[in-house]
């Protein structure tokens, strides 16, 4: 089976990190940037979150703004059940890959 052409769920390194961070608690986009210690950038994190939402890995909703709040209502993100299952499957696959013996060709 050509896995490159099948509809297997894919998880990039950034998506993996985001799901990892979100698995603890729901967060805002900027919070994710701060928690990632520079691994996520504020210019690209929202596009990645949007793509993950399209894939069904995360879900989002706008917070109810406080009466004294100014500006637009902020958007909160949390992983979906599917997203968490993909993360677990990915971690399991990574563990299996690490256990594979390396074959050196002469």
């Amino acid at each position: 089976v050509n896995t490159a052409k099948t509809d297997l769920p894919r998880l990039s390194a950034t998506e993996h990190l985001i799901l990892d961070l979100l698995s603890g608690e729901e967060m805002f986009g900027l919070q994710l940037v701060e928690e990632s210690n520079g691994a996520l950038k504020r210019g690209t994190v929202y596009v990645t979150l949007g793509r993950m939402q399209d894939k069904g890995y995360v879900e989002s909703w706008t917070e109810t703004p406080a009466p004294e709040a100014i500006g637009l209502p902020r958007r909160l993100y949390r992983p979906t059940g599917y997203g968490l299952r993909v993360l677990q499957a990915w971690a399991a696959a990574a563990r299996t890959m690490q256990r594979l013996p390396r074959v050196r060709h002469a």
Binding site: F28, G29, L30, K41, R42, G43, T44, Y46, V47, L49, G50, Q53, S60, T62, I70, G71, L72, P73, R74, R75
Partner: protein, 321 residues
């Protein structure tokens, strides 16, 4: 309290599809506004402001380049547009360089000059060539984009793909504005070649010409025109790109013909009317500098309004059938 980001939101809604704005752009702007409101000092606010605006530019570019909200076949067409634009821009610049080397004497060096003199002449001509390329870069990009849109964009392309092309044109304008007015001149000046002034230096020299008033009103207006052209010239990409997009309902041959003609007419307006009018009329130089851009933006709006009506009538006829 005036919160930053409202203009950015309006601009994003103009260039990107609504669901992308709701899902992505508003989320970024909301966090940006919240962070700005929470800042403790004016210095921190200024930093947040710079970081927020930069993040917005990156976000907008990612959405435009990633072509979010555009269907698969249109995405391929857009890739074709950008590929053709890049190739044509590179070819146009190569053509200019080859013309300069071959016919403007850039390649000819004195036969009996000393090696030191030859090295100096080579360096001087290379920097003059770099300055020439810098000056022509905005028009080469505009010509490339127009060619890309004319040859690569699908007929009756959707509004989403038109917006992506328009966003790319706006981003190109901003980059070209910064590159041709500061980055390239500063780069050329670092080789001790001082005939490529930045926009600020040009503004100061125009102010000196205005104050001394020794060379007559014609020279002052000429200097002012040169300064305002440095502002207007990079935005040719937007004006000509918009004009090319407005022709999206026409056939490919018509689009290519009109696209090339529009670039030629743009140059003609600039060379024949603007340069002439600055000496013979009392029109302000700023208006003259922006005249070619204004003409093409106005033309595009007229064509878009005219082509929207038959499209609406066609859909109405299809529905009644």
């Amino acid at each position: 309290m005036m919160v930053p980001g409202r203009t950015l939101q309006r601009f994003a809604r103009f260039v990107l599809p609504e669901h992308i704005c709701d899902q992505i752009v508003d989320a970024q702007l909301a966090d940006f506004q919240h962070e700005w409101a929470q800042a403790s000092s004016a210095h921190a606010r200024a930093l947040i402001l710079i970081r927020g605006y930069l993040a917005f530019c990156v976000l907008l570019a990612s959405c435009a380049v990633g072509m979010r909200g555009v269907a698969g076949d249109e995405r391929r067409a857009l890739r074709r547009v950008f590929a053709i634009a890049l190739v044509v821009t590179a070819l146009a610049l190569t053509g200019v360089v080859m013309y300069a080397v071959r016919y403007l004497g850039f390649g000819r060096l004195p036969l009996h000059a000393s090696p030191a003199m030859l090295a100096m002449l080579r360096r001087e001509r290379l920097l003059t060539l770099a300055d020439l390329v810098n000056q022509l870069l905005p028009f080469a990009v505009a010509f490339g984009l127009v060619s890309g849109i004319a040859a690569g964009l699908q007929r009756h392309a959707s509004r989403a793909s038109s917006r992506v092309v328009l966003a790319a044109a706006v981003i190109s304008c901003v980059i070209l504005f910064a590159a041709t007015n500061w980055m390239m001149p500063l780069g050329i000046q670092s080789f001790r070649y001082l005939r490529a002034p930045t926009l600020g230096e040009l503004g100061r020299s125009v102010a000196v010409v205005e104050q001394t008033r020794t060379n007559g009103p014609g020279t002052i207006r000429g200097a002012q025109l040169g300064y305002h052209l440095r502002w207007a010239w990079p935005f040719a990409t937007f004006a000509l790109g918009l004009f090319a997009i407005s022709l999206k309902h026409r056939g490919r041959a018509v689009r290519i013909g009109l696209g090339i003609a529009s670039c030629a007419i743009y140059l003609y307006i600039l060379r024949a009317f603007v340069v002439d009018l600055v000496w013979t009329s009392h029109l302000p130089p700023i208006l003259l500098a922006w005249l070619p851009n204004l003409v093409f933006v106005a033309l595009s709006i007229v064509i878009m309004t005219m082509s929207r009506r038959p499209a609406a009538e066609a859909s109405l006829t299809a529905e009644t059938r």
